[in-house]
Amino acid sequence: MSLQEKVYSFVQDLRAAGIAVSPDELGYCYQALLLVDWTVEDGFYTALFATLVKDVSHAVLFDQCYHRHFRGGPGPGEEDAFRRQVAEHLAQAWQGEGAGGAGRSCVGEGEAGQGEGAEGRNEKAGERERDDASGRSDRLKNLAAKDFRYLSVAEMKALENLMPLVARRLASRMIKKRKKNRHGGLDFRQTFRHSLAAGGAPLELITRPKIRQKPIIFALCDVSASVWEFSNFSLGLVYSLERFFREVRSFAFVDEIDEITSLLRRIRPEQLRRTVFNSARVVNDGRTDYGHCLKSFLQRYGAELSPRSYLLIFGDARNNWYSSESRALAALKGKVKRVYWFNPEPQDRWDSGDSVISAYAAHCDRAFACSNLRALADAFTRI
């Protein structure tokens, strides 16, 4: 495989892993590769990284892919071959440089073809690869529509890469909400004062800035066994939310509730659930008890809630026939700005068996049924 193909298949891999690389960026990447010395691995790596990755949270994924494809940098012969081919085409292009545009297009074709012979041979392989890549992204889309309960571990891994995107959707929604109506009423005193400088003509209208408060997010995640697939996502989501909001406080519970904010900051996303179980006090006798958890949340953290806070609860409200203590949720609602409940069960299963979601939903601003990732993401656009 020539280096150019290698880079291309590397980019395909990045795309499959969830890093969006535009054709533009791929072009810039080739261009950058021409400008660095590949024998220095730092240079080669940086040329790829600076052009293909635009988000530091993608760095881990990028490194994994990089190691799969180019461990130890490109092979010794490849660089020379690629450079020679490109240089030949360049030389041809410059002979006809008089017409700038024509020369340019030659350069393009030269790089593009990099030996038409090779192209022909690789035609089939290329098509297969393309099908592969589009297949992969289709699969990811289908996975997003698949019920959380039926996901395999491998599928879950694949979907977890999408969590930052879902978190961003939530964040942009909340930011937009904040951005609306930025200006308050007319500030007559200031406007008049400034108009004096222009001989009494009020050229600039000065409005009072509205006092805007940044939201504080309190996320409560049920991590019990009945929702364990879902809890992977809710924890992953809260983990990603940290990047978008200055103040995110996260809590996990089964039948005890514990704060995991500082825990989430320290650990890597892969170890979320295990670490939460190992180092936070969330289990007493192991049967989910929403009522008790909400009550103790109210007792322990109620004083820290304010009208700036948003309460997001992730869980199925299956309460093991314990008392629902919905009054605790009502009291919480009185303290915060909004309460949203995200339930991984489809709506037709709500209130079946030991589910007490209606008792809680009555005290939420909205309760959403999010049985798959797409529904979860859609729910965020509706809050």
Binding site: A20, L26, Y28, D37, A198
Partner: protein, 328 residues
């Protein structure tokens, strides 16, 4: 077939890039990058091979650099040092929430225009004449973006903290970065004679638009390794005793690993080193640390917490391990 490599876009690259490539050998490329590194060092910025590579690529490809990283890690300093190293004017646009075109691009100087109209009222000039006079460059307030475009020589344009601006302003910026020309309805079109070097910094408090990211080269600055930080301190505070410097670096590096409200940045460790120098401390002992902790820690809680956990050992100050939290 070309579709396979998605490289129809390759056509649009400036020919000069390719020409330069063919003239330079492989070795020279590395030399060039090293040269940038040395020039940046002379300008007061310690950068590693990777940073130098990105700077070199940005210069050769004429693309903006998007710099991200924690606060105080030296994002702005990259642009400043680059402008010093190249001897170019630095034009800085400090972004803030609610910044708009009149503040960033250009504005007419209304007051001066009004004065002019009032002053020439007695000779009753023609309307068109007044218009010609008051809509001339003399009455134009050029803001940073217009200044970067109309600068007589190549400039370094630093767009600081772009994550603070609104989406519509970002879109305007995008258009500007693509064309480097701007049309003033009253005056005509200005086009940059030479495309400025653009540095965009972001604290990642919000996600930037894909379109903007796509156009930039990406550079992420993290807190430096101990040896790099020691070199930075040596460069910035050359008079501080090497032993004290070592201790400062060791302690700051340890403090950064804690989960603090605000971890000390490079700027703060430089300030601390300066403070120690001006206090003429020969050694960094526990007492000195307690007196000067407020230079690196900006929250009372952080200070309290560190004060309790700093101990003094043979190697200088160190952090005692904190008691583990939670139930196990």
């Amino acid at each position: 077939m070309p579709e396979k490599y998605n490289n129809t876009r390759l056509l649009s690259y400036p020919l000069s890039v390719h020409r330069e490539f063919s003239k330079t050998g492989v070795v020279e490329l590395t030399e060039k990058i090293k040269q940038i590194r040395d020039e940046m060092l002379e300008a007061g910025f310690v950068c590693d091979y990777r940073i130098a590579t990105v700077l070199y690529l940005a210069e050769a490809m004429q693309k903006p650099v998007l710099i991200e990283g924690p606060a105080g890690v030296g994002k702005t300093a990259v642009a400043q040092a680059f402008s010093r190293a190249r001897g170019l004017e630095l034009i800085r646009l400090q972004c803030y929430e609610g910044i708009d075109e009149p503040r960033a691009l250009y504005e007419w100087n209304y007051k001066k225009q009004l004065l002019h109209i009032q002053a020439c009222a007695y000779r009753q000039p023609e309307l068109r004449e007044i218009e010609r006079e008051i809509f001339s460059e003399e009455y134009l307030l050029a803001r940073p973006l217009l200044r970067a475009i109309t600068a007589p020589a190549r400039a370094v344009l630093l767009i600081d903290e772009i994550d603070k601006v609104d989406f519509d302003f970002e879109a305007m910026l995008l258009e500007l970065l693509a064309e480097f020309q701007v049309t003033l309805p009253e005056l005509g079109t200005f086009k940059a004679r030479e495309i400025p070097h653009v540095f965009i910094t972001s604290n990642a408090t919000r996600e930037l638009s894909e379109a903007l990211k796509r156009r930039c080269l990406y550079l992420h600055l993290a807190f430096p390794a101990p040896d790099v930080e020691a070199r930075i301190l040596a460069l910035q505070v050359p008079d501080l005793a090497a032993a004290v410097r070592e201790k400062v670096v060791r302690l700051v590096q340890q403090i950064r690993k804690l989960d603090l409200k605000k971890p000390p940045s490079i700027a703060e460790s430089i300030d601390w080193a300066r403070a120690l120098f001006w206090l003429a401390r020969e050694d960094l002992d526990l007492e000195t640390f307690r007196e000067t902790a407020s230079v690196i820690l900006k929250y009372q809680e952080d200070i309290e917490r560190i004060r309790q956990s700093v101990g003094s050992g043979e190697e200088g100050l160190y952090l005692k391990p904190e008691p583990k939290q939670g139930w196990r």
